[in-house]
């Protein structure tokens, strides 16, 4: 493996959890709900996936447990913001704090345990293509899943009737309600989807990326996923681009340090954030029209009865 290939492989690993979590949040936000609890759901996904994977010695069960944990956290959030029309910002922040604490409790018996690496899926022949072969055809299943997920979310939102319903509820829940669209039901599933994705991203961190559990190991990736959704102007394709630019800048700045280019590491550490903002900003300027947040984003839905 050449250095170049190795760098590309690391970039893919660094970008994948951000992409998965951001896609989930994108769907939630497109339905008009702002869930700031991504970090909490992600870290719960990491703890529960690792706990299940070690207990049952199964990566698959680990992944399932991670997604379930994320979805359960999201269900709690849904209860607050849909059931009680609670403030979404406050509920989301509370969810993050709860997740960080609860995951520490759940993960405590598993501190110090380790798992063997998840073997990448090697597609024969194709993976032998120089340079791009290993990059494209010898990744773990999560990576393929994240790409497929991006396409599916894009198709769902833009090409299906159900996706249209979800978007219109996000744009104006009062009108949607007047038209007889099931605001609560759609939002509930959108929130749950967001939670499952955050849980999956957490599972990726704990089972593939670091392969051990330690409290707070998400280290702010949930917040980055949230920011990506905004900078990507709520578009799945742009989220993909944003996640990969962020991942690439993160990894490349580390390589730049090792290669002794002499740029201060503090400056390099800021590069991922600056590069992502700049890239997505340019993308939206080039697109010519302002793309705002979904109209009902963050406002509780309380219909007249």
């Amino acid at each position: 493996m050449t250095t170049f290939e190795a760098i590309l492989l690391t970039i893919v690993t660094a970008s994948t959890p951000l992409l998965i979590a951001a896609l989930g949040e994108l769907v939630t936000e497109r339905s008009g709900v702002l869930n700031l609890g991504v970090e909490g759901m992600m870290v719960m996904g990491a703890a529960c996936s690792f706990a299940a994977a070690v207990t049952f010695d199964s990566t698959l069960l680990g992944v399932a447990a991670g997604m379930l944990a994320g979805a359960l956290m999201a269900a709690l959030f849904a209860l607050l913001v849909l059931g009680f029309a609670a403030n979404q910002t406050g509920s989301g922040l509370a969810l993050t704090i709860l997740g960080l604490g609860l995951s520490g409790l759940i993960g405590a018996p598993f501190v110090g345990a380790r798992r063997d690496p998840v073997a990448p899926v090697d597609i024969p022949v194709l993976s032998d293509i120089p340079v791009i072969g290993r990059l494209l055809f010898e990744q773990d299943l999560f990576v393929y899943a994240s790409i497929v997920l991006t396409i599916l979310v894009g198709l769902y939102l833009m090409r299906t009737r159900s996706g249209l319903t979800l978007r219109s509820i996000g744009e104006n829940h009062t009108s949607a309600n007047a038209l007889g669209l099931p605001v609560w039901r759609v939002r509930f599933w959108a929130i749950l989807f967001g939670g499952a994705c955050a849980g999956l991203a957490g599972a990726y961190l704990a089972l593939v990326y670091t392969r051990f559990w330690s409290p707070g190991m998400t280290a702010g990736r949930g917040w980055i996923a949230l920011a990506l959704v905004v900078f990507a102007a709520w578009r799945p394709g742009w989220v993909l681009i944003g996640a990969y630019i962020f991942g690439a800048a993160t990894v490349l700045q580390l390589h730049a340090q090792a290669a002794q280019f002499g740029v201060p590491s503090q400056v390099l550490s800021a590069v991922p954030y600056l590069a992502t903002i700049l890239a997505l900003l340019l993308l939206s300027i080039r697109h010519g029209r302002a793309i705002g947040a979904p109209g009902s984003l963050g406002t509780p839905f309380v219909p007249d009865r």
């Binding site: 690391t10 993960g107 501190v111 330690s214 090792a258 590491s265």
Partner: protein, 360 residues
């Protein structure tokens, strides 16, 4: 995150706080000791080892000492957490990260009857001690091991931040390597975080991708050494024994052993003999312990053991003069035959042979 004991003991603590009103230290029957950690106790590294020390206190004085800890305290927000412990009747408070220095000093001045201990800092007060360990002694040893064992002649170092403590560690590591292998090269990456397993792992991978085959780390999680294990390269555990994460890759680990010190300081409070001090322990005082030397040839192991013994006995100082700066000029020697403690604690230069620049 408070352990539940904080609130449970609130009422009793208030009484204690009142009785501790006099400025003259007096023996006490029951005390409360609080700890502030920068990371989670489950980080397998820095904070974990401090918590081992905390548990040692509880074991040493059953029924006499209760302990509390607050984990994952951001350095910028630590004043609130420290003050919270001060207000809930703790007699002795350990703040265990360099970044807690100013907040600790501030709270210490506000609560003159409570004793404080700040790890790795340099600001003291009549009720504020500082303590640190000479980890660079261990780093010199692992430097020698790396210098002997490297095949690519390039060794790597994942640092947290370019602060004196980390710089001194890098220099000690490189001086050790150079002492057995004058032509060895070092590559350094700062993760700009103490604790972010995924990023620490990425930093390690970047170094390994660029030809490093011996990896030292000065961040808190086992992710870097785990990356070395996955690539079939070698590394050194940091703060605690990380063998279970890298059974084939860990050559040894520099283990922080705070237990003896913490027990002694708690005892000083119980006896009423606590004084503000500046303690800097190393291999000789068992504050720094090397985990068993493994996965290396016998001659390297022997060398490491000899070096360890020499440092322990005081024969060898990793920063013995003359030491050349990057520009090849000799660094002024302010200690006796070696750099002075102040020079080591405030180290802001790389030694000759390191081709990187310190990020300013």
């Amino acid at each position: 995150m408070f352990s539940g004991k904080v609130f449970g003991a609130l009422a009793g603590a208030a009484v204690l706080a009142l009785s501790a009103g006099s400025a003259v230290a007096q023996p006490k029957d029951k005390i409360k000791v609080g700890f502030i950690y920068v990371g989670p106790v489950g980080d397998h590294g820095w904070s974990y080892q401090h918590d081992v020390g905390r548990q040692a206190i509880e074991k040493a004085f059953p029924g006499k000492v209760t302990t509390t800890f607050v984990e994952s305290v951001p350095e910028a927000d630590s004043e609130r957490a420290i003050e919270q412990l001060a207000r809930t009747g703790h007699d002795l408070i350990f703040t265990t990260s360099f970044g807690f220095m100013e907040p600790t000093l501030k709270v210490a001045k506000k609560y003159p009857n409570i004793k404080f201990e700040h790890a790795t800092g340099f600001k003291r007060n009549p009720n504020l001690s500082t303590y640190a360990a000479k980890f660079h002694e261990g780093r010199y040893i692992i430097g020698q091991i790396a210098g002997k064992m490297t095949k690519s002649n390039t060794i790597g170092y994942v640092g947290a931040f370019p602060i004196p403590e980390v710089i001194a560690g890098i220099n000690a590591f490189y001086l050790g390597a150079q002492s057995v292998n004058p032509s060895v090269k070092i590559k350094i990456v700062f993760a700009n975080t103490w604790y972010d397993p995924a990023k620490e792992g990425d930093a390690a991978k970047a170094l390994l991708d660029q030809g490093v085959d011996m990896l030292a780390q000065h961040t808190d999680s086992p992710a870097p050494i785990q990356a070395a294990e996955a690539r079939g390269k070698f590394g050194f555990g940091q703060a605690s024994d990380m063998e279970r994460f890298a059974p084939k890759a860990q050559l040894t680990a520099i283990v922080d052993n705070w237990s003896d010190y913490y027990v002694a300081r708690a005892k000083a409070i119980l006896d009423g003999t606590w004084k503000s001090e500046d303690v800097w322990g190393g291999l000789a005082s068992n504050m720094v312990v090397m985990s068993p030397y493994k996965n290396m040839p016998d001659d390297v192991k022997k060398l490491a053991q000899e070096t360890e013994a020499a440092i322990r006995s005081g024969q060898l100082n990793p920063f013995k003069c003359p030491i050349m700066g990057q520009d090849g000029k000799e660094i002024e020697c302010k200690g006796q035959g070696a750099l002075s403690d102040e020079q080591v604690l405030g180290m802001n230069f790389y030694v000759k042979g390191i081709e990187d620049k310190i990020p300013q």
